[in-house]
């Protein structure tokens, strides 16, 4: 990862110079942007991650549908350069406010919503093949970690086994210039979809009994958490197990951790962890662990639609996954992690997880 985008600031300047060059040539300026949709990604069978294809779209100044976005793209690039110059780190919301102003002689703002500036930033990341963290921008912290590991964070050493009930909050930027791993005795990583379940496991000192690290991304994990999982695996060789709800969202969260996402496909080799395993929940667990049927939830139309879409994604092609999704469609229900509490509050930490890990009952 250190080989490319070494000098994001220079990349930004070159990006601007290219546009200025076109203007000097009296040409209507264009920016080429990689297309970040399903149409331009592919599943790399060798690397086992989602990768971005070669298709680019042209954002051209002389197109009424593009002009405003063109301006916004240059503005975001200029702002990124500015904050790198000042050597400060800021949030993507700060970026939005720093750029929001009324265009002279109009009633229009340069940006109306943060939802306008966020995708523009992704455009720039994809175009320059650089991480927003390298552009000195950070997202909200969302993930937490606890377990037997010492972490070096900007000069401080943190013992993640002594973080009480809250755990260590995973920062947005976990690149090696900030975060490094020291002594780790844990044997595997368990990533939990839900914070509430993570808290249950932490309270039960599951990580101590099982000698593991427990992480939660609180829903779809932020990039920081995904990047951390990737580093824990590649640098410490820890196996990664993922625990989510037995529903299409949960399965998709797992697939994003494993293979990367469509939207950030240009970052999959840094954010994806192809050897991650899915520990549960599955709809088959209902029979296997005699979970009462009354805690299951009937599939709604959205679930049905998405389940059928997922059957066609190439990274859900392994027969175990096809079998699980089809089984879910067959039985017509889904279930949440909390449903395991129907078997007793400690069922998850004392029976379900130990048994699955011991017997290696995973989905690939």
């Amino acid at each position: 990862m250190t080989t490319r985008a070494e000098k994001p600031k220079e990349e930004l300047i070159n990006f601007g110079k290219d546009v200025v060059g076109q203007i000097d040539q009296k040409e209507a300026p264009n920016i080429n942007l990689p297309i970040r949709t399903l149409a331009n990604i592919y599943f790399d069978e060798k690397d086992k991650v989602i990768k971005l294809g070669n298709k680019v779209s042209k954002r051209t100044y002389l197109n009424v549908a593009h002009t405003r976005k063109f301006m916004q793209t240059i503005m975001v690039a200029a702002e990124c350069k500015k904050i790198i110059d000042q050597n400060v780190y800021t949030s993507i919301r700060d970026l939005y406010y720093a750029l929001k102003r009324t265009i002279p002689n109009t009633k229009e703002n340069t940006f109306e919503e943060q939802s306008e500036s966020d995708p523009i930033l992704e455009d720039i990341e994809a175009t320059l093949n650089t991480l927003r963290e390298q552009l000195h921008l950070q997202a909200d912290r969302k993930g937490y970690l606890a377990g037997n590991i010492l972490i070096k964070d900007s000069g401080d050493t943190i013992d993640a086994s002594k973080m009480g009930s809250s755990g260590w909050a995973i920062p947005s930027n976990v690149e090696s210039e900030r975060i490094n791993f020291d002594n780790c005795t844990a044997e595997y990583v368990l990533l939990v979809e839900k914070d509430a379940v993570w808290q249950r496991l932490n309270e039960d000192k599951f990580w101590k009994k099982q000698n593991c690290l427990i992480l939660t991304g609180k829903g779809q994990p932020a990039r920081g958490t995904r990047r951390l999982v990737n580093r824990l695996h590649t640098e410490l060789k820890l196996p990664i197990y993922v625990l989510t709800d037995a529903d299409v969202w949960g399965y998709y969260i797992y697939s994003v951790i494993k293979q990367g996402s469509i939207n950030l496909s240009f970052l999959s080799d840094r954010l994806g962890t192809p050897s991650a395993k899915f520990i549960g929940l599955t709809t088959r667990d209902v029979e296997k662990f005699q979970i009462p049927k009354n805690v299951t939830i009937k599939l709604n139309n959205q679930d049905l639609k998405r389940a059928n879409e997922m059957l066609n994604y190439s990274w859900f092609k392994p027969k175990e996954w096809q079998d699980e999704i089809k089984h879910m469609l067959n039985v017509g229900y889904k279930l949440e992690l909390e449903a395991l509490s129907a078997k007793g509050i400690k069922f998850i930490s004392e029976k379900y997880l130990p048994e699955k890990i011991e017997k290696k009952i995973f989905l690939p």
């Binding site: 970040r36 002389l62 009424v64 549908a65 593009h66 240059i74 939830i297």
Partner: protein
């Protein structure tokens, strides 16, 4: 003035016509004090317009409304028509259903001989006051009458009559005192006069009302062609009318009756009818029995007849409609259409439509007219409304909720020698399918014209908008390029604007938006809203 007459089953007993309407004045629209004011003005103005047009005079009409005390008004209506002969004055104003014989048909405002005499009756019933009429046929002689109506006899009661000499004018002036309430809302005297000014652009109308004086000025100096009188067409004649006509005719045989009293009936057709009805062609009309009348009506329905002549209709024409709409509404655009004449139930009729758009128009409005008279009430029951509501206005780029909602005024004029109203108060046109169809075709054609205009306007706006978009973002782009690369911002901004000037016209207006860098195809990228999940769970628990 009023020249037609109509027999109706409900009002057949001659002696009690006045009594009947005394008790049933709502049938003629006098159902509220506000509406009564409007109807009286309308009857007076209708008569004034009919009288002047008949003589080929450009109408100059003066209306005054003065509040005497609470809910009591004096209404004066004066025209510059031919005046009325002395002997006719009491009959016209003092007899209900007075008019010339039924079988002379012509496109005119009044049809029944009910209007102005009913106004006189209403005035007398509500205030006890007599109506004053001044009429002059020129030569400095003015006849002045004060009269009431004898309700029992349906006859005028002349209270005073005098002849004034030395005042040189021509025309008729009526002064009525009645109960009423004056308002200026959608169905008011003012709105009626404004719409009358639109549909009669050759008239000059002065209104001296309780809130001030205003003038609706003449817009065209030419009267529409005078409509011809025609005889009724057999397909439009009902049993009762047939009985009455048989009774009143001077023809001596049934053949003579059919050929002389109706249009488009020759000897062959008349023979055919007699034969089918099994009646001796030489039978006197007076001796036809009720059973034979039914047979005749049945025979008429079986035979084919040439359509009635249509030169009896007098459309306003595109120029006058456009003029009327422009002078009173000040719109940005007007489209008009005059349909060819058509026939319903043997009566010729014709539809004219105008659509005025934009400019000073702020609110959508459907204006209905029958023989140039505005129809302000019962919009929902009217064939015109049904036609307009049946059109998919959005297809023509016109905002609508059944009827248009944008700055559009729709003018629909139905003219006929016999307009089929839904009631005696003449407020809505009856929904004959052929009438609905004709109105619809006319509206669609006008809407097409408006839609072409609107798409031109929108295209021009889009072109102007396009250049301004390219210019709008030049400054911020240049400033950002300066921050990024250090180039001179003013210099870059100038260059961008130069490129825009040189190239903007070469760019297609509707470029396809191929900026699809943002992921839209993958709904699963987003984190599912947790609240929704919790809600689902709750819902299940409740079950």
């Amino acid at each position: 003035m009023t020249t037609e007459d109509k027999s109706d089953d409900g009002i057949h007993k001659q002696a009690s016509i006045s009594e009947f309407f005394e008790k049933n004045r709502h049938l003629l629209g006098y159902d509220s004090k506000i509406k009564a004011m409007l109807i009286i003005v309308k009857e007076g103005v209708d008569n004034a317009l009919d009288a002047t047009e008949e003589e080929g005079i450009l109408p100059d009409i003066y209306i005054k409304i003065e509040e005497l005390e609470k809910d009591k008004y004096k209404i004066v209506i004066r025209d510059n028509g031919p005046g009325i002969e002395r002997k006719q004055i009491p009959k016209i104003f003092g007899t209900l259903l007075y008019g010339s014989k039924f079988h002379r048909l012509r496109q005119s405002r009044g049809q029944q001989g009910l209007g102005i005499s009913m106004a006189v009756l209403y005035s007398q019933l509500t205030t006890g006051e007599a109506t004053e009429i001044l009429a002059s046929r020129g030569k400095g002689i003015t006849r002045k009458f004060k009269l009431k109506i004898d309700v029992k006899k349906n006859e005028p009661v002349i209270l005073s009559e005098e002849t004034i000499e030395g005042k040189d004018w021509r025309g008729t002036q009526v002064t009525l005192i009645c109960e009423g309430i004056y308002r200026e809302h959608k169905q008011s005297v003012l709105e009626y006069l404004k719409q009358t000014a639109i549909s009669n652009p050759y008239a000059n109308i002065t209104f001296d009302g309780p809130t001030g004086k205003m003038e609706f000025k003449r817009g065209v100096e030419k009267l529409p062609k005078k409509p011809k009188e025609i005889k009724p067409h057999l397909h439009g004649v009902e049993l009762g009318i047939m009985v009455r006509m048989l009774h009143e005719t001077s023809a001596r045989s049934i053949i003579g009756f059919l050929t002389s009293e109706f249009s488009r009936v020759g000897k062959t057709t008349a023979d055919d009818i007699a034969k089918r009805a099994e009646i001796d062609p030489r039978t006197s009309p007076k001796k036809i029995t009720d059973v034979e009348v039914v047979k005749i009506i049945k025979a008429i329905k079986e035979i084919k007849l040439t359509r009635p002549p249509t030169d009896c209709l007098s459309p306003l024409g595109s120029v006058s409609i456009e003029n009327g709409l422009r002078k009173e509404l000040d719109p940005e655009f007007v489209a008009t259409i005059t349909r060819p004449p058509a026939v319903y139930r043997g009566w010729p009729f014709q539809i004219e439509v105008g659509i005025a758009y934009g400019g000073s128009i702020s609110e959508a409005r459907l204006m209905r007219f029958a023989n140039r008279v505005p129809l302000l009430y019962q919009q929902g029951d009217c064939a015109v409304t049904k036609s307009a509501a049946g059109i998919d206005w959005k297809r023509y780029g016109i905002e609508s909720d059944k009827l248009p909602t944008g700055p559009v005024i729709i003018f629909v004029h139905m003219m006929s020698v016999w307009v089929p109203f839904t009631s005696e108060s003449k407020e809505a046109v009856a929904s004959y399918p052929i009438i609905i169809k004709e109105v619809k075709l006319a509206l669609q054609e006008c809407a097409r014209k408006l839609s072409i205009y609107l798409s031109g306007v929108r295209k021009a706006q889009a072109v102007a908008e396009r250049k301004s978009i390219f210019e709008r973002y030049a400054h911020e782009t240049a400033v950002a390029l300066n921050e990024l690369t250090g180039v001179n911002a003013d210099d870059v901004e100038k260059k961008i604007k130069q490129i825009v000037d040189d190239k903007w016209e070469d760019i297609e207006v509707y470029q396809n938006n191929n900026d699809n860098t943002k992921s839209e195809e993958n709904p699963l990228e987003k984190v599912p809203p947790k609240k929704e999940k919790l809600k689902e769970l709750k819902d299940d628990e409740e079950e």
